[in-house]
């Protein structure tokens, strides 16, 4: 079973729902080691995405939907996460081109391009306590799952689980990028808000693939 436009828009809707649901939690994480706006930023962005989603032409490809997310996030989120996540979706859209159906390899290409987009703009390395620390294990786990011959649902499940672990693993780290880097040792013990939100987005991707009941519906 490959994943097409229905999966993509479902992923996007679930993303909006999960970001809205976790808005307060993300704000709190960002208040602790940043400036307290991360949940608000993403919620504003995905609310705008939702509003535009119905305008997608019926024959849109996954890449078209991802590009819509990219440009909308870039023009509504602001802050650090706006350009970073926006670039992630933009590069992801580029990676899948006009393909209508994505198989495991295409999903790995999508995730890899997204992660690389964040690195391109933000220059963060793994272990810097940023959203990269959710994306990179997700990319690796997805690639391993494909190598193991897993199906698309399992590939995204592996990515989501790895992203969740990656987000959790940011807790003991000292930050080297973003606002948390100003804190030095005092960032230790706090989860990076961007890693957390990225793990939520990747979980939404897996849930959409698995057809899990959606919180937003």
């Amino acid at each position: 079973m490959t994943l097409g436009i229905d999966w993509t828009t479902d992923w996007i809707r679930r993303s909006a729902a999960v970001v809205s649901e976790h808005r307060g939690e993300l704000i709190t994480l960002d208040r602790e080691i940043g400036d307290g706006d991360h949940g608000e930023n993403l919620d504003r962005g995905f609310t705008a995405v939702l509003a535009k989603l119905d305008d997608l032409p019926a024959d849109a490809s996954p890449g078209d939907a991802l590009k819509l997310v990219a440009t909308t996030l870039i023009s509504t989120v602001g802050g650090a996460s706006g350009p970073l996540l926006g670039t992630a979706y933009l590069k992801a859209a580029g990676a899948v081109g006009q393909e209508k159906e994505l198989d495991g390899a295409a999903l790995v290409a999508l995730l890899t391009a997204a992660r690389d987009g964040v690195v391109l703009r933000g220059k963060a390395e793994p272990g810097d306590k940023t959203m990269i620390d959710a994306w990179t294990p997700a990319v690796d786990a997805a690639a391993a799952a494909v190598a193991d011959g897993k199906d698309e649902v399992a590939v995204l499940e592996a990515a989501a689980a790895a992203a969740e672990q990656g987000a959790e693993a940011t807790e003991p780290l000292v930050a080297r990028k973003g606002r948390a880097s100003y804190l030095g040792d005092r960032a230790i013990g706090h989860r990076d808000p961007g890693a957390q939100s990225s793990s939520l987005l990747l979980r939404a991707a897996a849930d959409a693939a698995a057809g899990a009941p959606s919180a937003g519906q």
Partner: protein
């Protein structure tokens, strides 16, 4: 959360509308996308200067739009960098053909969003230079941080670069003056109380009744270290030491001393701080030839202060003294 606001989502829009209503003699306001421009922009032949960033630091930046300072300011949501769209729109609106300088405080979000806007403006044929402000000595500028933050020194850069643009300097020259000011100003701040971001509804951090936060940023983000409340003179000593050592400033230097309130600090306290800071500088043979005291780069209702020292020479002094007519800084006209 106690605030004179309506819906937290509308704070910036409503404040900008109020700013427009109060200062229509100096500015015009675009509401969608949102930016504040000098009333007579674009000014023929003049390099334009655009700055911006998250809201909540007022009067920065909107209060500094006008003759002799900024041509446009782009306010983002509270403490959140604006997106590229309004930056691009403002940049194009104020460009007279002489090019545009972006003055950007060094935060990942501000840098990335201005970068995208600059790229898009360049694609539209607008010449853009960017100067990134990073005057905050509280943060080590190293591979292990996002680099020094832009804080209160920003107002000095905007004033002086604005004067250079007003006297007719070309884009490279205006950018060079801005870089020079950024290179010669150092700042460090302290918070006594946190601030409350409207959409968050809770204090940005918590401080015990006898604790203060040294090395605070301007977004309610925690600072470098937390110490016990101390007499003002001790706190001033503690802020000034890294400021003076960093450049370093030396005996014989002439400087501008800026004591900047974080938004909720009573003015008496700013002057108590100024008094001792001036005393310390005098003791080191550093001459305060220009002064600025007040709320210029704030963090909503935060109580606290930052101290900036800018090394002056004849050129910078002349540009500082040049006329300016904005809502928040005005002299000479």
């Amino acid at each position: 959360m106690k605030k004179l606001i309506n819906d937290p989502k509308n704070v910036v829009d409503e404040a900008v509308a109020g700013f427009e209503a109060a200062h229509g003699d100096i500015v015009t306001v675009s509401h969608d996308p949102i930016y504040i421009a000098r009333k007579d922009a674009p000014v023929a032949g003049k390099v334009a200067i655009v700055s911006g960033g998250g809201s909540g630091h007022e009067p920065l930046h909107g209060g500094f739009v006008g003759y002799g300072m900024l041509d446009a300011a782009v306010p983002g949501p509270v403490f959140t960098s604006p997106t590229p769209d309004p930056i691009l729109a403002a940049t194009k609106a104020v460009d007279s053909g002489a090019g545009v300088l972006h003055i950007v405080k060094n935060y990942t979000g501000d840098v990335l969003n201005f970068e995208t806007a600059a790229d898009l403006a360049a694609a539209d044929g607008v010449e853009v230079r960017t100067v990134v402000i990073d005057d905050d000595v509280a943060v080590k500028d190293s591979l292990y941080t996002a680099g020094r933050r832009g804080v209160a020194g920003t107002v000095l850069v905007e004033k002086i670069a604005g004067a250079a643009a007003e006297r007719g300097d070309d884009l490279d020259a205006v950018a060079a003056v801005a870089e020079k000011v950024n290179g010669q100003v150092r700042t460090m701040g302290v918070a006594l109380t946190p601030c409350v971001v409207p959409h968050a509804g809770e204090p940005s951090f918590t401080l015990a009744d006898d604790e203060i936060e040294i090395g605070i940023g301007i977004h309610g983000e925690p600072g470098r270290e937390r110490i016990k409340l101390a007499p003002a003179d001790e706190i001033v000593d503690r802020l000034l030491k890294p400021v003076l050592e960093d450049l370093p400033f030396a005996s014989g230097d002439k400087v501008l001393l800026l004591v900047n309130g974080m938004g909720g600090t009573p003015q008496v306290e700013l002057y108590v701080v100024f008094r001792h800071a001036a005393e310390v500088l005098a003791g080191k043979g550093i001459e305060v030839t220009r002064s600025l005291v007040g709320n210029y780069v704030t963090s909503l209702e935060m109580q606290g202060v930052s101290i900036s020292v800018l090394k002056l020479d004849d050129e910078l002094t002349e540009l500082w003294d040049a006329p300016v007519q904005t809502a928040a800084l005005r002299w000479g006209r």
